[in-house]
Subunit: 221 residues, 2 copies
Protein backbone atom coordinates (compact mmCIF):
# COMPACT_ATOMS: atom_id res chain seq x y z
CA UNK A 1 0.00 0.00 0.00
CA UNK A 2 1.70 3.21 -1.12
CA UNK A 3 -1.02 5.68 -0.24
CA UNK A 4 -3.52 5.76 2.59
CA UNK A 5 -7.03 6.60 1.37
CA UNK A 6 -7.98 10.26 1.66
CA UNK A 7 -11.07 10.55 3.87
CA UNK A 8 -13.12 13.55 5.00
CA UNK A 9 -11.27 13.54 8.32
CA UNK A 10 -7.80 13.42 6.80
CA UNK A 11 -8.49 15.95 4.05
CA UNK A 12 -6.66 19.16 4.82
CA UNK A 13 -8.80 22.23 4.40
CA UNK A 14 -5.93 24.64 5.06
CA UNK A 15 -2.70 24.67 3.05
CA UNK A 16 -3.44 21.33 1.35
CA UNK A 17 -0.02 21.47 -0.35
CA UNK A 18 1.48 20.64 3.03
CA UNK A 19 -0.53 17.42 3.29
CA UNK A 20 0.41 13.96 2.16
CA UNK A 21 -1.02 10.47 2.13
CA UNK A 22 2.31 8.92 1.15
CA UNK A 23 2.81 5.88 3.38
CA UNK A 24 6.60 6.05 3.07
CA UNK A 25 6.59 9.62 4.43
CA UNK A 26 4.07 8.72 7.12
CA UNK A 27 6.18 5.74 8.21
CA UNK A 28 9.39 7.80 8.27
CA UNK A 29 7.81 10.38 10.59
CA UNK A 30 6.31 7.69 12.83
CA UNK A 31 9.63 5.86 13.00
CA UNK A 32 11.60 8.98 13.94
CA UNK A 33 9.20 10.04 16.70
CA UNK A 34 8.51 8.03 19.82
CA UNK A 35 5.90 10.09 21.69
CA UNK A 36 2.36 10.39 20.40
CA UNK A 37 -0.61 12.33 21.71
CA UNK A 38 -3.67 10.12 21.96
CA UNK A 39 -7.05 11.83 21.70
CA UNK A 40 -10.44 10.36 22.53
CA UNK A 41 -13.79 11.58 23.77
CA UNK A 42 -15.87 10.38 26.70
CA UNK A 43 -19.39 11.84 26.73
CA UNK A 44 -18.21 14.32 24.06
CA UNK A 45 -15.44 15.53 26.36
CA UNK A 46 -12.01 15.30 24.77
CA UNK A 47 -8.89 13.91 26.43
CA UNK A 48 -5.33 14.17 25.05
CA UNK A 49 -2.70 11.98 26.70
CA UNK A 50 0.98 11.64 25.72
CA UNK A 51 2.42 8.14 25.49
CA UNK A 52 5.08 6.08 23.74
CA UNK A 53 4.34 4.05 20.64
CA UNK A 54 5.88 1.88 17.96
CA UNK A 55 4.94 1.17 14.38
CA UNK A 56 5.00 -2.40 13.12
CA UNK A 57 3.94 -2.71 9.50
CA UNK A 58 0.48 -1.25 9.14
CA UNK A 59 -0.20 -0.82 12.87
CA UNK A 60 0.71 1.46 15.73
CA UNK A 61 1.12 -0.15 19.13
CA UNK A 62 0.67 1.71 22.38
CA UNK A 63 0.88 0.17 25.82
CA UNK A 64 0.55 0.92 29.47
CA UNK A 65 -0.78 -0.31 32.77
CA UNK A 66 -3.80 -2.55 32.90
CA UNK A 67 -5.14 0.06 35.35
CA UNK A 68 -4.92 2.87 32.77
CA UNK A 69 -8.26 4.55 32.29
CA UNK A 70 -7.26 5.64 28.80
CA UNK A 71 -6.24 2.18 27.61
CA UNK A 72 -9.36 0.54 29.01
CA UNK A 73 -11.52 3.15 27.32
CA UNK A 74 -9.72 2.82 24.00
CA UNK A 75 -9.75 -0.96 24.23
CA UNK A 76 -13.52 -0.82 23.85
CA UNK A 77 -12.96 0.29 20.28
CA UNK A 78 -14.09 3.91 20.51
CA UNK A 79 -12.82 6.43 17.96
CA UNK A 80 -9.26 7.55 18.58
CA UNK A 81 -6.97 10.13 17.00
CA UNK A 82 -3.22 9.68 17.45
CA UNK A 83 -0.91 12.54 16.51
CA UNK A 84 2.89 12.51 16.26
CA UNK A 85 4.69 15.83 15.88
CA UNK A 86 8.37 16.45 15.14
CA UNK A 87 9.55 20.04 15.49
CA UNK A 88 12.31 20.91 13.03
CA UNK A 89 12.67 24.65 13.42
CA UNK A 90 11.34 28.12 14.04
CA UNK A 91 10.71 30.15 10.90
CA UNK A 92 11.47 33.84 11.34
CA UNK A 93 9.89 36.03 8.69
CA UNK A 94 10.18 39.79 8.18
CA UNK A 95 6.57 40.28 9.26
CA UNK A 96 5.02 38.95 12.45
CA UNK A 97 2.22 37.48 10.34
CA UNK A 98 4.42 35.12 8.34
CA UNK A 99 6.29 33.57 11.25
CA UNK A 100 5.88 29.84 11.23
CA UNK A 101 7.36 26.54 12.27
CA UNK A 102 9.03 23.78 10.35
CA UNK A 103 7.58 20.48 11.44
CA UNK A 104 6.54 17.02 10.33
CA UNK A 105 3.39 15.55 11.80
CA UNK A 106 1.19 12.52 11.31
CA UNK A 107 -2.44 12.16 12.33
CA UNK A 108 -4.03 8.70 12.50
CA UNK A 109 -7.76 8.14 12.95
CA UNK A 110 -9.20 4.77 13.79
CA UNK A 111 -10.34 2.29 16.39
CA UNK A 112 -7.89 0.42 18.53
CA UNK A 113 -8.01 -3.25 19.35
CA UNK A 114 -6.80 -4.86 22.57
CA UNK A 115 -3.91 -7.25 21.95
CA UNK A 116 -4.80 -10.35 23.98
CA UNK A 117 -2.72 -13.11 22.44
CA UNK A 118 0.37 -13.53 24.68
CA UNK A 119 2.76 -14.06 21.76
CA UNK A 120 1.47 -11.03 19.88
CA UNK A 121 1.61 -9.01 23.10
CA UNK A 122 5.21 -9.97 23.80
CA UNK A 123 6.18 -9.19 20.20
CA UNK A 124 4.50 -5.77 20.50
CA UNK A 125 6.33 -5.01 23.75
CA UNK A 126 9.62 -5.96 22.12
CA UNK A 127 8.79 -3.67 19.20
CA UNK A 128 7.92 -0.81 21.59
CA UNK A 129 11.23 -1.28 23.38
CA UNK A 130 13.27 -1.57 20.19
CA UNK A 131 11.53 1.46 18.70
CA UNK A 132 12.48 3.56 21.72
CA UNK A 133 15.97 2.16 22.36
CA UNK A 134 17.22 -0.20 19.64
CA UNK A 135 19.33 -2.97 21.17
CA UNK A 136 17.92 -2.73 24.67
CA UNK A 137 15.52 -5.68 24.72
CA UNK A 138 18.18 -8.39 24.56
CA UNK A 139 19.99 -6.92 27.59
CA UNK A 140 17.12 -6.82 30.06
CA UNK A 141 14.89 -9.23 31.91
CA UNK A 142 11.86 -9.98 29.75
CA UNK A 143 8.36 -9.53 31.18
CA UNK A 144 7.14 -12.52 33.17
CA UNK A 145 3.58 -13.79 33.04
CA UNK A 146 2.37 -11.49 35.84
CA UNK A 147 3.93 -8.43 34.21
CA UNK A 148 2.38 -9.36 30.87
CA UNK A 149 -1.01 -9.55 32.56
CA UNK A 150 -0.46 -6.15 34.18
CA UNK A 151 0.32 -4.62 30.79
CA UNK A 152 -2.29 -3.56 28.27
CA UNK A 153 -1.28 -3.32 24.63
CA UNK A 154 -3.44 -1.72 21.97
CA UNK A 155 -3.09 -1.92 18.21
CA UNK A 156 -4.32 0.84 15.91
CA UNK A 157 -4.40 0.30 12.14
CA UNK A 158 -2.74 2.93 9.95
CA UNK A 159 -5.59 2.83 7.44
CA UNK A 160 -6.69 6.44 7.88
CA UNK A 161 -3.53 8.48 8.28
CA UNK A 162 -2.05 11.63 6.83
CA UNK A 163 1.18 13.58 7.13
CA UNK A 164 1.71 17.31 7.18
CA UNK A 165 5.10 18.89 6.58
CA UNK A 166 6.52 22.38 6.44
CA UNK A 167 10.14 22.90 5.45
CA UNK A 168 12.34 25.68 4.18
CA UNK A 169 12.76 29.43 4.66
CA UNK A 170 10.04 31.96 5.51
CA UNK A 171 7.71 33.17 2.78
CA UNK A 172 7.27 36.92 3.16
CA UNK A 173 5.05 39.35 1.32
CA UNK A 174 7.04 40.62 -1.65
CA UNK A 175 7.21 44.20 -0.32
CA UNK A 176 8.62 43.01 3.01
CA UNK A 177 11.78 41.59 1.44
CA UNK A 178 13.05 45.20 1.39
CA UNK A 179 12.87 45.47 5.19
CA UNK A 180 16.21 45.50 7.04
CA UNK A 181 15.15 42.54 9.19
CA UNK A 182 17.06 39.29 9.59
CA UNK A 183 15.01 36.32 8.46
CA UNK A 184 15.65 32.62 8.37
CA UNK A 185 15.26 29.43 10.30
CA UNK A 186 16.41 28.39 13.78
CA UNK A 187 16.77 24.61 13.50
CA UNK A 188 15.60 22.58 16.48
CA UNK A 189 16.17 18.95 17.33
CA UNK A 190 15.88 16.55 20.22
CA UNK A 191 19.35 15.46 21.34
CA UNK A 192 20.57 12.99 23.92
CA UNK A 193 23.05 13.86 26.62
CA UNK A 194 25.56 11.53 28.29
CA UNK A 195 23.83 8.60 30.02
CA UNK A 196 23.41 9.00 33.79
CA UNK A 197 24.19 5.88 35.81
CA UNK A 198 21.58 4.52 38.18
CA UNK A 199 22.89 5.21 41.72
CA UNK A 200 22.64 1.51 42.59
CA UNK A 201 24.92 0.30 39.76
CA UNK A 202 28.30 -1.26 40.69
CA UNK A 203 31.13 1.26 40.47
CA UNK A 204 32.72 -0.16 37.32
CA UNK A 205 29.54 -0.22 35.21
CA UNK A 206 29.76 1.05 31.68
CA UNK A 207 26.80 2.33 29.72
CA UNK A 208 26.14 0.33 26.53
CA UNK A 209 26.77 1.87 23.14
CA UNK A 210 23.09 2.24 22.34
CA UNK A 211 22.84 4.56 25.37
CA UNK A 212 26.10 6.47 24.80
CA UNK A 213 25.37 7.06 21.12
CA UNK A 214 21.61 7.43 21.45
CA UNK A 215 19.96 9.34 18.62
CA UNK A 216 16.64 9.17 16.84
CA UNK A 217 16.93 7.89 13.25
CA UNK A 218 17.82 10.80 11.01
CA UNK A 219 15.04 11.37 8.56
CA UNK A 220 15.49 12.53 5.02
CA UNK A 221 13.81 15.90 5.06
CA UNK B 1 -4.21 31.33 42.93
CA UNK B 2 -1.68 28.74 44.07
CA UNK B 3 -3.58 25.57 43.24
CA UNK B 4 -5.99 24.76 40.47
CA UNK B 5 -9.08 22.93 41.74
CA UNK B 6 -8.93 19.16 41.46
CA UNK B 7 -11.83 17.95 39.32
CA UNK B 8 -12.95 14.47 38.23
CA UNK B 9 -11.25 15.04 34.86
CA UNK B 10 -7.93 16.17 36.33
CA UNK B 11 -7.80 13.55 39.07
CA UNK B 12 -5.12 11.02 38.26
CA UNK B 13 -6.26 7.46 38.70
CA UNK B 14 -2.83 5.98 37.97
CA UNK B 15 0.30 6.93 39.94
CA UNK B 16 -1.35 9.90 41.68
CA UNK B 17 1.99 10.79 43.30
CA UNK B 18 3.10 12.00 39.85
CA UNK B 19 0.22 14.48 39.65
CA UNK B 20 0.13 18.07 40.78
CA UNK B 21 -2.24 21.00 40.85
CA UNK B 22 0.50 23.46 41.78
CA UNK B 23 0.07 26.51 39.54
CA UNK B 24 3.74 27.45 39.78
CA UNK B 25 4.75 24.03 38.42
CA UNK B 26 2.02 24.16 35.76
CA UNK B 27 3.15 27.62 34.65
CA UNK B 28 6.81 26.59 34.53
CA UNK B 29 6.02 23.66 32.23
CA UNK B 30 3.75 25.78 30.02
CA UNK B 31 6.40 28.50 29.80
CA UNK B 32 9.17 26.09 28.81
CA UNK B 33 7.13 24.37 26.10
CA UNK B 34 5.83 26.07 22.99
CA UNK B 35 3.89 23.35 21.18
CA UNK B 36 0.63 22.02 22.52
CA UNK B 37 -1.66 19.30 21.26
CA UNK B 38 -5.24 20.51 21.06
CA UNK B 39 -7.97 17.88 21.39
CA UNK B 40 -11.64 18.30 20.62
CA UNK B 41 -14.51 16.14 19.45
CA UNK B 42 -16.89 16.67 16.55
CA UNK B 43 -19.84 14.25 16.59
CA UNK B 44 -17.94 12.23 19.24
CA UNK B 45 -14.99 11.87 16.88
CA UNK B 46 -11.74 13.10 18.41
CA UNK B 47 -9.19 15.34 16.69
CA UNK B 48 -5.70 16.14 17.99
CA UNK B 49 -3.84 19.00 16.32
CA UNK B 50 -0.41 20.41 17.22
CA UNK B 51 -0.06 24.18 17.43
CA UNK B 52 1.91 26.95 19.13
CA UNK B 53 0.66 28.66 22.26
CA UNK B 54 1.56 31.21 24.91
CA UNK B 55 0.50 31.59 28.51
CA UNK B 56 -0.44 35.04 29.79
CA UNK B 57 -1.49 35.04 33.43
CA UNK B 58 -4.36 32.62 33.84
CA UNK B 59 -4.94 32.01 30.13
CA UNK B 60 -3.48 30.08 27.24
CA UNK B 61 -3.62 31.73 23.84
CA UNK B 62 -3.56 29.82 20.60
CA UNK B 63 -3.86 31.33 17.16
CA UNK B 64 -4.03 30.51 13.51
CA UNK B 65 -5.72 31.27 10.25
CA UNK B 66 -9.26 32.53 10.18
CA UNK B 67 -9.82 29.63 7.76
CA UNK B 68 -8.74 27.03 10.31
CA UNK B 69 -11.45 24.45 10.85
CA UNK B 70 -10.09 23.72 14.32
CA UNK B 71 -10.12 27.32 15.51
CA UNK B 72 -13.59 27.97 14.16
CA UNK B 73 -14.88 24.85 15.89
CA UNK B 74 -13.20 25.70 19.18
CA UNK B 75 -14.33 29.32 18.97
CA UNK B 76 -17.88 28.07 19.39
CA UNK B 77 -16.96 27.20 22.97
CA UNK B 78 -16.99 23.40 22.76
CA UNK B 79 -14.98 21.36 25.26
CA UNK B 80 -11.27 21.34 24.56
CA UNK B 81 -8.30 19.54 26.07
CA UNK B 82 -4.85 21.06 25.57
CA UNK B 83 -1.79 19.01 26.46
CA UNK B 84 1.85 20.17 26.64
CA UNK B 85 4.53 17.51 26.98
CA UNK B 86 8.25 18.00 27.65
CA UNK B 87 10.42 14.92 27.27
CA UNK B 88 13.36 14.90 29.69
CA UNK B 89 14.81 11.44 29.27
CA UNK B 90 14.53 7.73 28.66
CA UNK B 91 14.58 5.61 31.81
CA UNK B 92 16.38 2.29 31.33
CA UNK B 93 15.56 -0.27 34.00
CA UNK B 94 16.96 -3.78 34.49
CA UNK B 95 13.62 -5.30 33.48
CA UNK B 96 11.68 -4.48 30.33
CA UNK B 97 8.61 -3.89 32.49
CA UNK B 98 10.07 -1.00 34.47
CA UNK B 99 11.36 1.02 31.53
CA UNK B 100 9.85 4.48 31.58
CA UNK B 101 10.29 8.07 30.51
CA UNK B 102 11.11 11.21 32.41
CA UNK B 103 8.73 13.95 31.36
CA UNK B 104 6.75 16.92 32.50
CA UNK B 105 3.28 17.42 31.08
CA UNK B 106 0.30 19.67 31.62
CA UNK B 107 -3.30 18.94 30.67
CA UNK B 108 -5.82 21.78 30.53
CA UNK B 109 -9.57 21.23 30.16
CA UNK B 110 -11.95 24.02 29.37
CA UNK B 111 -13.80 26.06 26.80
CA UNK B 112 -12.05 28.56 24.61
CA UNK B 113 -13.25 32.03 23.80
CA UNK B 114 -12.64 33.91 20.57
CA UNK B 115 -10.55 37.04 21.13
CA UNK B 116 -12.34 39.74 19.12
CA UNK B 117 -11.13 42.99 20.63
CA UNK B 118 -8.34 44.29 18.33
CA UNK B 119 -6.16 45.51 21.21
CA UNK B 120 -6.46 42.24 23.11
CA UNK B 121 -5.81 40.34 19.89
CA UNK B 122 -2.65 42.31 19.12
CA UNK B 123 -1.44 41.85 22.70
CA UNK B 124 -2.05 38.10 22.41
CA UNK B 125 -0.13 37.91 19.12
CA UNK B 126 2.76 39.77 20.69
CA UNK B 127 2.68 37.34 23.63
CA UNK B 128 2.64 34.37 21.25
CA UNK B 129 5.65 35.78 19.40
CA UNK B 130 7.58 36.66 22.56
CA UNK B 131 6.82 33.25 24.07
CA UNK B 132 8.29 31.53 21.02
CA UNK B 133 11.20 33.89 20.32
CA UNK B 134 11.76 36.50 23.03
CA UNK B 135 12.93 39.78 21.48
CA UNK B 136 11.59 39.11 18.00
CA UNK B 137 8.43 41.22 17.99
CA UNK B 138 10.19 44.59 18.10
CA UNK B 139 12.30 43.71 15.03
CA UNK B 140 9.52 42.78 12.63
CA UNK B 141 6.66 44.40 10.81
CA UNK B 142 3.58 44.24 13.05
CA UNK B 143 0.34 42.79 11.69
CA UNK B 144 -1.74 45.29 9.72
CA UNK B 145 -5.51 45.45 9.92
CA UNK B 146 -6.03 42.90 7.15
CA UNK B 147 -3.62 40.43 8.73
CA UNK B 148 -5.31 40.86 12.11
CA UNK B 149 -8.63 40.04 10.48
CA UNK B 150 -7.15 36.97 8.85
CA UNK B 151 -5.89 35.73 12.20
CA UNK B 152 -8.04 33.96 14.76
CA UNK B 153 -6.93 34.05 18.39
CA UNK B 154 -8.49 31.90 21.09
CA UNK B 155 -8.14 32.22 24.84
CA UNK B 156 -8.48 29.22 27.16
CA UNK B 157 -8.63 29.71 30.94
CA UNK B 158 -6.24 27.69 33.09
CA UNK B 159 -8.93 26.96 35.67
CA UNK B 160 -8.95 23.19 35.21
CA UNK B 161 -5.33 22.15 34.75
CA UNK B 162 -2.98 19.57 36.15
CA UNK B 163 0.68 18.66 35.80
CA UNK B 164 2.27 15.24 35.73
CA UNK B 165 5.98 14.74 36.26
CA UNK B 166 8.38 11.82 36.37
CA UNK B 167 12.01 12.38 37.30
CA UNK B 168 14.95 10.36 38.51
CA UNK B 169 16.45 6.91 37.99
CA UNK B 170 14.57 3.69 37.19
CA UNK B 171 12.77 1.84 39.97
CA UNK B 172 13.42 -1.87 39.58
CA UNK B 173 12.05 -4.84 41.46
CA UNK B 174 14.37 -5.47 44.38
CA UNK B 175 15.56 -8.85 43.03
CA UNK B 176 16.49 -7.31 39.68
CA UNK B 177 19.14 -5.01 41.19
CA UNK B 178 21.41 -8.09 41.21
CA UNK B 179 21.24 -8.42 37.43
CA UNK B 180 24.40 -7.47 35.52
CA UNK B 181 22.50 -4.95 33.38
CA UNK B 182 23.36 -1.28 32.96
CA UNK B 183 20.54 0.97 34.14
CA UNK B 184 20.09 4.70 34.24
CA UNK B 185 18.72 7.63 32.32
CA UNK B 186 19.45 8.95 28.83
CA UNK B 187 18.70 12.68 29.12
CA UNK B 188 16.93 14.26 26.16
CA UNK B 189 16.39 17.89 25.32
CA UNK B 190 15.37 20.10 22.44
CA UNK B 191 18.33 22.16 21.25
CA UNK B 192 18.72 24.88 18.65
CA UNK B 193 21.32 24.75 15.90
CA UNK B 194 23.00 27.70 14.20
CA UNK B 195 20.46 30.01 12.51
CA UNK B 196 20.10 29.48 8.75
CA UNK B 197 19.91 32.69 6.71
CA UNK B 198 16.95 33.21 4.40
CA UNK B 199 18.34 32.93 0.83
CA UNK B 200 17.01 36.39 -0.03
CA UNK B 201 18.90 38.22 2.74
CA UNK B 202 21.64 40.69 1.76
CA UNK B 203 25.10 39.10 1.93
CA UNK B 204 26.26 40.93 5.06
CA UNK B 205 23.24 40.07 7.22
CA UNK B 206 23.89 38.92 10.75
CA UNK B 207 21.46 36.86 12.77
CA UNK B 208 20.30 38.59 15.96
CA UNK B 209 21.43 37.30 19.36
CA UNK B 210 18.03 35.89 20.21
CA UNK B 211 18.42 33.59 17.19
CA UNK B 212 22.10 32.73 17.68
CA UNK B 213 21.65 31.93 21.37
CA UNK B 214 18.16 30.50 21.11
CA UNK B 215 17.19 28.20 23.98
CA UNK B 216 14.01 27.38 25.83
CA UNK B 217 13.99 28.69 29.40
CA UNK B 218 15.73 26.15 31.62
CA UNK B 219 13.27 24.81 34.13
CA UNK B 220 14.09 23.86 37.66
CA UNK B 221 13.52 20.14 37.69
Amino acid sequence: MDKTPQTPRTTLKRLPQRGSYDRELIDRILDEGFICHVGFAVDSRPFVIPTGYARVGDSLFIHGSQASRMLRTLGQGIDVCVTVTLIDGLVLARSAFHHSMNYRSVVVFGNARMVDDPDEKLAALRALSEHMIPGRWDDVREPDERELQLTTVLSLPLGEASAKVRTGPPLDDEADYELPVWAGVIPLRLVAGAPMDDPRLPADSEAPNYAVEYARPASKR
